[in-house]
Assembly symmetry: C2
Homo-oligomer: 407 residues x 2
Amino acid sequence: MAINPPVLNAPLAVPGFRVGTASCGVKSPALKGKRQDLALIVGDVPCHAAGVFTKNRFRAACVRHGEATLSTQAENVRAIVANSGNANAGLGEMETVWARNLIEAGAEAAGVAADQVLSASTGVIGTPFPIDRIRASVHEATDSLSADHWEQAAHAIRTTDTFAKWSSAVVSIDGQSYTLTGIAKGSGMIHPNMATMLAFVATDAPISADVLAPMLRRVADRSFNCISVDGDTSTNDTMYLLSSGIGLGHAPLSETAVFEQALTELCIELAQLIVRDGEGVTKFVTIEVSGAATEAEARTVGRAVAVSPLVKTAFAGSDANWGRILSAVGNSGVAIDTNRITLRADDVLMFENGNIHPEYSDEQGMAVFRQPEFSISLDLGMGSESAVVWTGDLTHDYITINAEYRT
Amino acid sequence: MAINPPVLNAPLAVPGFRVGTASCGVKSPALKGKRQDLALIVGDVPCHAAGVFTKNRFRAACVRHGEATLSTQAENVRAIVANSGNANAGLGEMETVWARNLIEAGAEAAGVAADQVLSASTGVIGTPFPIDRIRASVHEATDSLSADHWEQAAHAIRTTDTFAKWSSAVVSIDGQSYTLTGIAKGSGMIHPNMATMLAFVATDAPISADVLAPMLRRVADRSFNCISVDGDTSTNDTMYLLSSGIGLGHAPLSETAVFEQALTELCIELAQLIVRDGEGVTKFVTIEVSGAATEAEARTVGRAVAVSPLVKTAFAGSDANWGRILSAVGNSGVAIDTNRITLRADDVLMFENGNIHPEYSDEQGMAVFRQPEFSISLDLGMGSESAVVWTGDLTHDYITINAEYRT
């Protein structure tokens, strides 16, 4: 059950990119022909690229390969090959071999060199990677290459996602229009069964790799890193950003702020889609933290609230239990002054100056918490920095999905 | 539902201490006479004392009072007064006044000075503290003072605990026998509704306050801090240790290692009782981490496994999902080498040298995970330090208790 999944407009083609998919039966030969499970994103020209990867110490081989490739080839990337159905993780030495094989298969299908290809895998872990089935069907991705196949690619990278996730935007910079299109997958803010968060964004905005890399880290901190709320970061989490603009002959942008803002908004939209598709989620809650000394501290406080099982079960029960929220703030590790904190649910003032607000009533709070979407606003009264975190609730369905089934 | 709660032997009297209880109707006047909700522990002589308190930035007034009292009176403590039914927290300026009033009421009942009294409160937060009802009934605690009333006191500090928790031990040091008796309350490893963890230990072993203070911190790190596994530390968590020995005329122990070991074992027993009584818990899991560079890193890894919702739901589902365990290890923040890790469930070898063990089968793992009690052993292969963490699973009952009822 997803919370208010929006009807998405069709993704926009991005100059310089074509996308294809294949049905390889990655998870099981029986699925061959029944669902697409491999996506191939091909740049018609060498692309500038950047990546952000999981911080988990257990990193799948595709993550290690991708990081190594970007360290030498960040101005010369031609393709991303990504499969669902098998994460190629927890497999020891063969994992590295299979990750290399997937890249080689993608390179051959794209007609480029293996060192120009990034890869990503998502699905079950600890199961041998079916490279032979991928080799046998990857040509389908070549056959289906088209500038208009982003939606199909968004479907191909799904695992337990209940809907495919994409977003597009157009920005105008110095009189020139550029397109951004991103696809993402992820089964919620509590990564189920180590389900991977993947996001791939393509643009024709001409930005060099050395500018893209720090930009992508900033953007990830304000989008995807604001929803990975229980620390159960997957072994395979990956985000890639590819820019065809310089390869297409555009001069690099001298000013990238407008682009970064558009990229941030696009990634926030993708990140929110992941929360809305969270396992068992029945509430979509925006946690706004203001008055912090630093943005990082604001985010730390927001995450502490978002990951607390007691807060998340209070959301589930439509219980305006402000004490649980304040206790989570107190446990965040940030040196707050409890007498300066103001807490609101939507526009209802609950707590101020170290005490419950005299006019607050439980009925007011419950009315807010009963809604499928609401916000929690915390003003720390310490400074002027802020951050926003998006999360869901913790429900019986989450337990059922994660305790009673093995996906 | 509690997991294998042991039948506890009667707690032992401790020379120099008497204990009484009262029924004040703290939570509701209707409960007056129906359940004991106030405990008074009185030292017949000035006691040396130490305390360990919540690290939550929101600290209830009783915690702040206790810390202040110990900073000046650690060699001159005469009583602990503790109530259940109301945490006296989240109440602004009145909270401090009411905490002081509780101490004064306890001091009057014990016949000692207010600055010789420590206090603790547990129960609902944000509800005005019923100091008048306490004042009206605290005399019952005086009337019932007895060296043999530890069990009654253990009952009086319960909130949602399904059974009362206590433990006693006798140690022989230099030919002299000393007694330790402790009582504790806490509703599980995921503190429900900010339910407080309280523990009070009394002993006649003659140890001075300046030795007790660092000892208690070490002991707490190896007992209660090994079960507070989701970071949802309450605003009121408190542990007190009182020693009557010096006041009774014994010479201070020159060597306290034997006592510290006995105190550690007693506190581990109390801590495990809290896990066994955890809300919704159906499994009792011991997480043993060895081969760490430091004990602190071993504990960090163990806690990371113990708090992961994915690991806890796998426990609930009897699913030997080793990938979730390793991912939690990878997310712990400790700089592990994934190729050196060995993972066992009881004596079943699951993972070794970066790969699943060739002879491991899911059936073996499931057989272990289906038991109500089992162990997870992780050897990090980095050093010789170790730690143990105890935890339970995350079940539908936990969600029901915390989402559907407001206690």
